[in-house]
Protein backbone atom coordinates (compact mmCIF):
# COMPACT_ATOMS: atom_id res chain seq x y z
CA UNK A 1 0.00 0.00 0.00
CA UNK A 2 1.33 3.41 -1.06
CA UNK A 3 1.51 6.24 1.46
CA UNK A 4 2.90 9.75 1.63
CA UNK A 5 4.62 11.07 4.75
CA UNK A 6 2.96 14.32 5.76
CA UNK A 7 4.96 17.43 5.04
CA UNK A 8 4.34 18.93 8.46
CA UNK A 9 6.94 20.83 10.44
CA UNK A 10 5.63 21.10 14.00
CA UNK A 11 7.94 21.99 16.89
CA UNK A 12 8.76 19.43 19.58
CA UNK A 13 10.11 15.91 19.81
CA UNK A 14 9.32 14.48 16.37
CA UNK A 15 10.61 11.08 15.29
CA UNK A 16 9.66 11.43 11.64
CA UNK A 17 12.97 12.25 9.91
CA UNK A 18 12.90 15.53 7.96
CA UNK A 19 14.34 13.90 4.84
CA UNK A 20 11.30 11.61 4.55
CA UNK A 21 8.56 14.26 4.96
CA UNK A 22 6.55 14.71 1.79
CA UNK A 23 8.00 11.49 0.32
CA UNK A 24 6.04 8.52 -1.01
CA UNK A 25 6.75 4.92 0.01
CA UNK A 26 5.17 1.50 0.43
CA UNK A 27 4.05 0.01 3.73
CA UNK A 28 6.52 -2.79 4.48
CA UNK A 29 4.88 -4.10 7.66
CA UNK A 30 2.67 -2.95 10.50
CA UNK A 31 4.32 -3.30 13.88
CA UNK A 32 1.63 -2.55 16.44
CA UNK A 33 0.60 0.13 18.91
CA UNK A 34 3.13 2.25 20.76
CA UNK A 35 3.16 5.32 22.96
CA UNK A 36 3.45 8.51 20.96
CA UNK A 37 6.89 10.04 21.62
CA UNK A 38 5.57 13.46 20.64
CA UNK A 39 3.51 13.27 23.85
CA UNK A 40 5.58 11.08 26.15
CA UNK A 41 8.59 13.41 25.64
CA UNK A 42 6.54 16.02 27.53
CA UNK A 43 4.94 13.61 30.02
CA UNK A 44 1.61 13.85 28.21
CA UNK A 45 -0.53 10.78 27.94
CA UNK A 46 -2.61 10.23 24.85
CA UNK A 47 -3.82 7.34 22.77
CA UNK A 48 -1.24 4.88 21.53
CA UNK A 49 -0.39 5.18 17.85
CA UNK A 50 0.10 2.51 15.25
CA UNK A 51 3.70 2.19 14.13
CA UNK A 52 4.35 1.23 10.52
CA UNK A 53 7.52 0.42 8.60
CA UNK A 54 7.60 2.23 5.28
CA UNK A 55 9.96 1.39 2.40
CA UNK A 56 11.16 4.20 0.13
CA UNK A 57 13.08 3.93 -3.14
CA UNK A 58 16.27 5.99 -3.05
CA UNK A 59 15.19 7.58 -6.35
CA UNK A 60 11.97 8.80 -4.68
CA UNK A 61 13.93 10.47 -1.89
CA UNK A 62 17.07 11.81 -3.55
CA UNK A 63 16.03 11.92 -7.22
CA UNK A 64 18.89 11.95 -9.71
CA UNK A 65 21.40 12.33 -6.85
CA UNK A 66 20.69 8.78 -5.64
CA UNK A 67 23.63 6.38 -5.89
CA UNK A 68 21.32 3.66 -7.20
CA UNK A 69 17.64 4.50 -7.48
CA UNK A 70 16.41 0.98 -6.71
CA UNK A 71 18.21 0.77 -3.37
CA UNK A 72 15.78 1.44 -0.51
CA UNK A 73 15.42 3.06 2.89
CA UNK A 74 13.05 1.63 5.47
CA UNK A 75 11.94 3.62 8.50
CA UNK A 76 9.37 3.39 11.29
CA UNK A 77 6.69 6.04 10.97
CA UNK A 78 3.71 6.61 13.29
CA UNK A 79 0.42 6.23 11.44
CA UNK A 80 -0.75 9.78 12.12
CA UNK A 81 2.11 10.93 9.85
CA UNK A 82 0.81 8.92 6.89
CA UNK A 83 -1.65 10.07 4.26
CA UNK A 84 -3.09 8.07 1.36
CA UNK A 85 -1.70 8.65 -2.12
Amino acid sequence: MKVRIKSHWPPGHIRTPAYLRGKIGQIERRIGLFNNPEETAYRQTGPQRELVRVRFRMADIWGARAERGEDVIEAEIYAHWLEPV
Binding site: R15, E70, D71, A75, E76
Partner: protein, 220 residues
Protein backbone atom coordinates in the same frame (compact mmCIF):
# COMPACT_ATOMS: atom_id res chain seq x y z
CA UNK B 1 58.40 12.75 30.26
CA UNK B 2 61.41 14.25 28.48
CA UNK B 3 62.40 12.74 25.22
CA UNK B 4 64.64 13.83 22.39
CA UNK B 5 64.05 13.60 18.72
CA UNK B 6 67.55 13.92 17.27
CA UNK B 7 66.95 10.83 15.20
CA UNK B 8 63.79 12.14 13.55
CA UNK B 9 63.96 13.43 10.03
CA UNK B 10 61.03 15.79 10.37
CA UNK B 11 61.41 19.01 12.28
CA UNK B 12 57.95 19.81 13.66
CA UNK B 13 57.59 20.29 17.40
CA UNK B 14 56.66 17.31 19.56
CA UNK B 15 56.04 19.44 22.60
CA UNK B 16 53.02 18.23 24.53
CA UNK B 17 52.95 14.87 22.77
CA UNK B 18 53.33 11.38 24.17
CA UNK B 19 56.52 9.37 23.48
CA UNK B 20 54.76 7.79 20.55
CA UNK B 21 53.94 11.22 19.15
CA UNK B 22 50.25 11.40 20.03
CA UNK B 23 48.64 14.37 21.80
CA UNK B 24 47.65 13.83 25.42
CA UNK B 25 43.97 13.96 26.14
CA UNK B 26 43.12 17.30 27.75
CA UNK B 27 42.29 17.17 31.45
CA UNK B 28 38.67 17.41 32.32
CA UNK B 29 39.03 20.77 34.08
CA UNK B 30 36.04 22.67 32.73
CA UNK B 31 32.99 23.45 34.83
CA UNK B 32 30.16 20.94 34.96
CA UNK B 33 27.45 21.50 32.40
CA UNK B 34 23.89 22.03 33.62
CA UNK B 35 22.94 18.42 32.86
CA UNK B 36 26.11 16.96 34.41
CA UNK B 37 25.27 18.83 37.63
CA UNK B 38 21.66 17.62 37.41
CA UNK B 39 22.80 14.00 37.00
CA UNK B 40 25.04 14.19 40.07
CA UNK B 41 22.33 15.90 42.13
CA UNK B 42 19.71 13.32 41.16
CA UNK B 43 22.06 10.40 41.79
CA UNK B 44 23.08 11.70 45.21
CA UNK B 45 19.49 12.37 46.21
CA UNK B 46 18.38 8.87 45.19
CA UNK B 47 21.18 7.39 47.28
CA UNK B 48 20.62 9.71 50.30
CA UNK B 49 16.91 8.97 50.33
CA UNK B 50 17.60 5.25 50.22
CA UNK B 51 15.98 4.46 46.85
CA UNK B 52 19.14 2.74 45.68
CA UNK B 53 22.73 2.24 46.78
CA UNK B 54 25.93 3.29 45.08
CA UNK B 55 26.79 -0.41 44.77
CA UNK B 56 23.52 -1.14 42.93
CA UNK B 57 24.13 1.78 40.60
CA UNK B 58 27.61 0.61 39.71
CA UNK B 59 26.48 -2.98 39.35
CA UNK B 60 24.05 -1.75 36.67
CA UNK B 61 26.75 0.31 34.92
CA UNK B 62 28.99 -2.76 35.01
CA UNK B 63 26.23 -4.94 33.56
CA UNK B 64 25.64 -2.44 30.74
CA UNK B 65 29.36 -2.15 29.97
CA UNK B 66 29.85 -5.92 29.95
CA UNK B 67 27.32 -6.65 27.21
CA UNK B 68 29.18 -7.41 24.02
CA UNK B 69 28.63 -8.40 20.39
CA UNK B 70 29.34 -11.99 21.46
CA UNK B 71 25.64 -12.21 22.44
CA UNK B 72 24.46 -11.28 18.96
CA UNK B 73 27.07 -13.57 17.41
CA UNK B 74 25.57 -16.55 19.26
CA UNK B 75 22.11 -15.66 17.90
CA UNK B 76 23.44 -15.47 14.33
CA UNK B 77 25.39 -18.74 14.64
CA UNK B 78 22.25 -20.50 15.92
CA UNK B 79 20.30 -19.19 12.93
CA UNK B 80 22.97 -20.53 10.56
CA UNK B 81 22.77 -24.08 11.90
CA UNK B 82 19.08 -24.30 12.86
CA UNK B 83 16.54 -23.48 10.12
CA UNK B 84 13.63 -23.55 12.58
CA UNK B 85 15.36 -21.04 14.84
CA UNK B 86 16.17 -18.88 11.82
CA UNK B 87 12.51 -18.82 10.81
CA UNK B 88 11.54 -17.88 14.37
CA UNK B 89 14.21 -15.16 14.44
CA UNK B 90 12.97 -13.60 11.22
CA UNK B 91 9.36 -13.77 12.45
CA UNK B 92 10.06 -12.24 15.90
CA UNK B 93 13.70 -11.60 16.72
CA UNK B 94 12.93 -10.47 20.26
CA UNK B 95 11.09 -13.66 21.17
CA UNK B 96 13.75 -15.84 19.54
CA UNK B 97 16.54 -14.07 21.45
CA UNK B 98 14.66 -14.58 24.71
CA UNK B 99 14.34 -18.29 23.92
CA UNK B 100 18.15 -18.37 23.74
CA UNK B 101 18.24 -16.89 27.23
CA UNK B 102 19.23 -13.32 26.40
CA UNK B 103 17.64 -10.72 28.61
CA UNK B 104 16.71 -8.11 26.06
CA UNK B 105 14.30 -6.26 28.33
CA UNK B 106 11.42 -4.49 26.62
CA UNK B 107 13.39 -4.13 23.38
CA UNK B 108 11.51 -4.85 20.13
CA UNK B 109 13.92 -6.47 17.75
CA UNK B 110 13.78 -7.11 14.00
CA UNK B 111 16.32 -9.38 12.26
CA UNK B 112 17.20 -8.47 8.68
CA UNK B 113 18.41 -11.29 6.45
CA UNK B 114 21.23 -10.70 3.99
CA UNK B 115 20.98 -12.78 0.83
CA UNK B 116 22.75 -12.93 -2.52
CA UNK B 117 20.39 -10.19 -3.73
CA UNK B 118 19.93 -7.99 -0.65
CA UNK B 119 22.36 -6.31 1.74
CA UNK B 120 20.98 -4.66 4.89
CA UNK B 121 22.64 -1.88 6.89
CA UNK B 122 21.39 -0.17 10.05
CA UNK B 123 21.63 3.49 11.05
CA UNK B 124 19.83 5.82 13.44
CA UNK B 125 19.72 9.23 11.79
CA UNK B 126 17.91 10.89 14.71
CA UNK B 127 20.18 9.75 17.57
CA UNK B 128 22.04 6.49 18.19
CA UNK B 129 19.43 3.73 18.67
CA UNK B 130 21.28 0.41 18.79
CA UNK B 131 20.46 -3.13 20.01
CA UNK B 132 22.68 -2.77 23.09
CA UNK B 133 21.37 -5.89 24.81
CA UNK B 134 22.72 -8.03 21.97
CA UNK B 135 25.64 -5.95 20.67
CA UNK B 136 26.83 -3.94 23.70
CA UNK B 137 27.62 -0.25 23.45
CA UNK B 138 27.60 1.26 19.96
CA UNK B 139 30.94 2.15 18.37
CA UNK B 140 31.78 5.86 18.27
CA UNK B 141 31.43 6.04 14.49
CA UNK B 142 27.85 4.76 14.73
CA UNK B 143 26.98 7.90 16.73
CA UNK B 144 28.89 10.31 14.46
CA UNK B 145 27.01 12.81 12.34
CA UNK B 146 28.95 11.61 9.30
CA UNK B 147 27.73 8.00 9.56
CA UNK B 148 24.20 9.02 10.54
CA UNK B 149 23.71 11.49 7.71
CA UNK B 150 25.68 9.85 4.92
CA UNK B 151 24.38 6.28 5.30
CA UNK B 152 20.90 7.25 4.10
CA UNK B 153 22.26 9.37 1.21
CA UNK B 154 25.23 7.37 -0.10
CA UNK B 155 25.25 3.97 1.61
CA UNK B 156 27.43 2.33 -1.05
CA UNK B 157 30.14 4.94 -0.63
CA UNK B 158 29.96 4.60 3.17
CA UNK B 159 30.17 0.80 2.94
CA UNK B 160 33.14 1.02 0.56
CA UNK B 161 34.94 3.10 3.21
CA UNK B 162 34.39 0.16 5.59
CA UNK B 163 36.03 -2.04 2.94
CA UNK B 164 32.77 -3.49 1.68
CA UNK B 165 32.23 -3.15 -2.08
CA UNK B 166 28.81 -4.40 -3.12
CA UNK B 167 28.05 -5.51 -6.67
CA UNK B 168 25.68 -3.26 -8.61
CA UNK B 169 23.02 -5.99 -8.93
CA UNK B 170 22.58 -6.26 -5.14
CA UNK B 171 19.94 -4.11 -3.50
CA UNK B 172 21.05 -2.09 -0.49
CA UNK B 173 18.40 -1.70 2.21
CA UNK B 174 19.15 1.03 4.71
CA UNK B 175 17.16 0.71 7.94
CA UNK B 176 16.69 3.99 9.77
CA UNK B 177 16.00 3.09 13.41
CA UNK B 178 13.58 5.98 13.94
CA UNK B 179 11.27 4.78 16.69
CA UNK B 180 10.62 1.70 18.84
CA UNK B 181 12.33 -1.06 16.83
CA UNK B 182 15.94 -2.15 17.09
CA UNK B 183 17.67 -4.06 14.29
CA UNK B 184 20.23 -6.81 13.91
CA UNK B 185 21.50 -7.92 10.53
CA UNK B 186 21.57 -11.66 9.92
CA UNK B 187 24.59 -11.93 7.62
CA UNK B 188 24.80 -14.69 5.04
CA UNK B 189 26.93 -17.60 6.18
CA UNK B 190 30.31 -17.67 4.38
CA UNK B 191 30.74 -20.80 2.29
CA UNK B 192 34.14 -21.44 3.88
CA UNK B 193 32.41 -21.86 7.25
CA UNK B 194 29.91 -24.52 6.20
CA UNK B 195 30.00 -27.59 8.41
CA UNK B 196 31.45 -25.88 11.48
CA UNK B 197 29.76 -26.17 14.87
CA UNK B 198 27.52 -23.45 16.24
CA UNK B 199 30.20 -22.49 18.76
CA UNK B 200 32.90 -22.29 16.08
CA UNK B 201 30.61 -20.25 13.84
CA UNK B 202 29.95 -17.64 16.53
CA UNK B 203 33.63 -16.62 16.27
CA UNK B 204 33.06 -15.73 12.60
CA UNK B 205 30.29 -13.24 13.37
CA UNK B 206 31.74 -9.75 13.74
CA UNK B 207 29.99 -6.79 15.33
CA UNK B 208 30.19 -4.91 12.02
CA UNK B 209 28.52 -7.77 10.16
CA UNK B 210 25.51 -7.45 12.51
CA UNK B 211 25.28 -3.69 11.85
CA UNK B 212 25.67 -4.33 8.13
CA UNK B 213 28.94 -2.49 7.50
CA UNK B 214 30.99 -5.68 7.27
CA UNK B 215 30.83 -9.40 6.52
CA UNK B 216 31.52 -12.41 8.74
CA UNK B 217 35.19 -13.37 8.78
CA UNK B 218 37.30 -16.36 9.70
CA UNK B 219 38.62 -15.77 13.23
CA UNK B 220 42.20 -14.45 13.28
Amino acid sequence: MPHDHYDHEHDHSHEGLSPSGHPYRADNDTDLSYWQAMEIALRELLIEKGHLTAAQLHAQINAMDSRSPANGARVVARAWVDPEFKAALLADAGAASRVMGFDIGPMHLIALENTKEVHNVVVCTLCSCYPRNLLGLPPDWYKSRAYRSRTVIEPRKVLSEFGLELPEHMQVRVHDSTADMRYIVLPAQPEASLGLTEEELAAWVTRDSMIGVGLPQAPQ
